[in-house]
């Protein structure tokens, strides 16, 4: 993702963006972190919709040691012609629910618990279930996140663990 925006400097990015909540900035065709640590171009969804979707993904499967970039990767596939109407409608419903509870928008709620309350209110919706179900593979099957959980993936190429600690536990 960093590669796609390597032509955008941090200063350029921030100067052409508007803040969305505290975590994101959005431009005419991209979403970025407010630190410009990563950015993602969007072709079909509104950039603010994608930013909200990324926040929603984190709120469904919150891991404080996993950066937004990985959540962005997990939901990037929804930026498509086929998905856009459903996603725009779903995020609009999410924002409407936030407004109904007195917040400016879903990402502008402050506490995670307020967003989780909003999500609980729509967890049986097709949109929520689609996003949640997609994240199970979209997030946890990213090889880049495995080391963040200590998971080592395949070991065949290194000869397995027969000589590399399959029985190295020392506290039991």
């Amino acid at each position: 993702m960093k590669d796609q925006t390597s032509h955008i400097t941090r200063r350029d990015l921030l100067s052409r963006s508007a803040a969305l909540g505290t975590a994101f900035v959005v431009g005419t065709s991209y979403v970025a972190s407010s630190t410009a640590a990563w950015a993602m171009e969007v072709a079909h969804l509104q950039p603010a919709t994608m930013a909200t979707l990324i926040q929603m993904a984190r709120d469904i499967y919150p891991h404080d040691h996993v950066a937004d970039e990985h959540y962005a990767t997990a939901v990037k596939g929804y930026d498509s012609e086929d998905a856009k109407d459903m996603v725009e409608a779903g995020i609009a419903a999410l924002n409407a629910a936030a407004v109904g509870q007195g917040f400016p928008s879903y990402v502008d709620t402050g506490w995670e618990r307020d967003r989780v309350d909003i999500l609980r209110g729509m967890e049986n919706s097709a949109f929520f279930q689609m996003v949640r179900g997609g994240l199970v593979t979209g997030l946890y099957n990213q090889k880049a996140v495995w080391p963040l959980f200590g998971y080592e993936g395949e070991s065949y190429s290194q000869g397995g663990y027969i000589d590399r600690g399959f029985d190295d536990i020392n506290w039991i």
């Binding site: 919150p62 891991h63 967890e123 946890y140 080592e152 663990y161 027969i162 190295d168 506290w171």
Partner: protein
């Protein structure tokens, strides 16, 4: 290599499926000089092809044809289109199995006699004396190279096992060890020893775990008597006016229909596809499906009482390192109704990688209760529960005419309701499993619901009386003399043990019977 047999060759034994039942039967018959055509719906994948990545491997090996579910089991809700996690490939689910190879206990062969009348259960005794099986179990253990049998050493204990063993001993359990596994603890039969690589479920890349794909199948092919046709999906079994099976119609790799003539047909397509094939073979002579005069085809579907217990600790375990199933507690496998249920269960260590843990720990779960568990993935230990479930007539495979497969045939629907005995046993097992981990300092425990079924059993069951089941003590259908069932669907009851060793032992025994009957000119 086997010379191909002609489609019109009506002297061959046609075996449908090449897993623990069909693959072993094919080799055993070929070794006796019998001509065999084995039809396998999947492709051929060997150790060099296996992928040590959970989802990618699932896409390569899993049986993903259209299926539907119903009933009160949680799988119908969590994985409605995936009732079973089994394999479509040469070697069948022996590519995927963990390798646990346990003999039935004597009392389990006679469940009706020993458990009595359990309300709502359709219990029956196997028409086999346990002593008849002793030699066949020994042959099966030698074929599979089962550890802790025949003088073979056990596997070393992994991290996941060490936690499990310490907890078991703290609770006072006595029968705790690294299992009787069809995984080489030393080089055996030209296959190397286990390298503790993990990914046993994805196919063993070392070939250290027994699978018919690279043992019995090539051994049978070397005799010149066995031809395996890959990507040959059998659509129906045909018969003549006298009710004798004459051949099978299958879709070949290009989707074209072919017909293979046969002297004998053996069905070994797993307990969902085998009854489905018999039902899809209905004719004027057999309007309710082939070999179904009892009405029992598809009924008494069993899947073992299962569940898992995972636990987190304050220190790393790294359970994914080493064999997927690394040890067993057998103390609860006994029949002891004072626990509030009949039959028993085994506790066996199990590890999932992060991707599958996310999918299976609490399907549908989200939020911090879920994610904080995964945050401790590195500190997690796990076990699987496998126990005897009750056969029920209403738990069954039926044809779902609303959903068709890629060949236009009605898909199988898998209906399952837990029996009260299953629920009582699962609750007991959850309690004991959680106690094992709490005894060694678990910080949190997770009684995890059943996965899609890998132990699919009982849908063409064996019975003394033709009224009560589909096949006799040899797996021969009561209605059609030259039609056999050779997989786990012939199980009368499920017992507490992982079924593969028993399927293999029954296949070796069935091969003796079929060869003898052919020589005698009886079939």
């Amino acid at each position: 290599m086997a010379a191909p047999f002609e489609l019109s060759d009506d002297s061959v034994v046609v075996i449908i499926g090449t897993g623990a039942g069909g693959g072993v039967l094919a080799n055993e018959l070929a070794q006796k000089g019998v001509s065999v055509v084995a039809l396998e719906a999947g492709g051929r994948y060997l150790p060099q092809d296996y992928i040590n990545d959970e989802w990618e491997s699932f896409g390569q090996l899993a049986w993903l044809d259209a299926r539907t579910t119903s009933g009160d089991w949680r799988v119908a809700n969590d994985f409605s289109g995936l009732p079973a996690w089994i394999v479509k490939a040469v070697g069948g689910t022996t590519t995927h199995w963990a390798g646990a190879s346990l003999r039935f206990q004597d009392h389990e062969w006679k469940a009706k006699t020993n458990y009595g009348n359990v309300q709502g259960a359709n219990l029956l005794d196997w028409p086999i004396d346990p002593r008849e099986m002793d030699d066949y179990y020994t042959k099966a253990e030698d074929k599979l190279g089962v550890t802790r049998t025949g003088g073979r050493a056990g596997l070393p204990g992994s991290n996941n096992y060490k936690v499990f063993e310490a907890g078991a001993k703290a609770l006072g359990y006595k029968e705790v060890h690294t299992g009787r596994m069809a995984i080489n603890s030393a080089e055996n039969d030209g296959r190397m020893a286990c390298q503790q690589t993990g990914f046993c479920f994805q196919g063993c890349k070392w070939g250290a775990k027994w699978s018919s794909a690279y043992t019995d199948i090539p051994a049978g092919e070397e005799t010149g008597n066995l031809e395996v046709r890959e990507r040959a999906h059998v659509l129906r079994i045909e018969h003549d006016d006298s009710g004798k099976a004459t051949g099978v119609v299958y879709a070949d790799a290009d989707g074209n229909e072919q017909r293979q003539s046969a002297r004998i047909v053996c069905v070994a397509g797993n307990s969902i596809e085998s009854p489905r094939l018999l039902l899809n073979s209905a004719s004027n002579l057999f309007p309710d499906g082939l070999a179904n005069s009892s009405g029992q085809v598809g009924r008494n579907y069993m899947r073992h009482m299962t569940g898992s217990v995972y636990a987190t600790f304050d220190k790393p375990v790294k359970m994914w390192r080493g064999t997927t199933m690394a040890g067993i507690i057998q103390d609860e496998a006994r029949h002891d109704p004072s626990r509030g249920f009949v039959g028993g269960y085994e506790l066996e260590t199990l590890a999932l990688g992060l991707p599958f843990m996310a999918a299976f720990l609490d399907p549908g779960g989200w939020g911090r209760e879920f994610t904080t568990a995964l945050d401790s993935y590195e500190n997690m230990a796990g076990m699987w529960i496998v126990g005897e479930d009750m056969p029920q007539e209403t738990n069954r495979i039926t044809l779902n005419y609303d959903v068709t497969d890629q060949y236009g045939l009605p898909a199988p629907n898998v209906h399952f309701d837990d029996h009260p005995n299953d629920i009582a046993m699962r609750n007991h097992a959850y309690k004991q499993g959680m106690a094992v981990y709490e005894a060694v300092g678990a910080t949190r425990v997770f009684p995890t619901p059943p996965y899609p079924s890998t132990h699919n059993l009982g849908t063409n069951r064996m019975s003394e009386n033709p009224r009560d089941g589909v096949v006799n003590k040899w797996g021969q259908t009561h209605d059609v003399a030259n039609l056999f069932v050779s997989d786990g669907s012939q199980f009368t009851t499920g017992a507490a043990e992982n079924p593969t060793l028993t399927i293999v032992a029954l296949a070796i025994r069935q091969a003796d019977h079929i060869a003898a009957e052919m020589n005698a000119g009886n079939i």
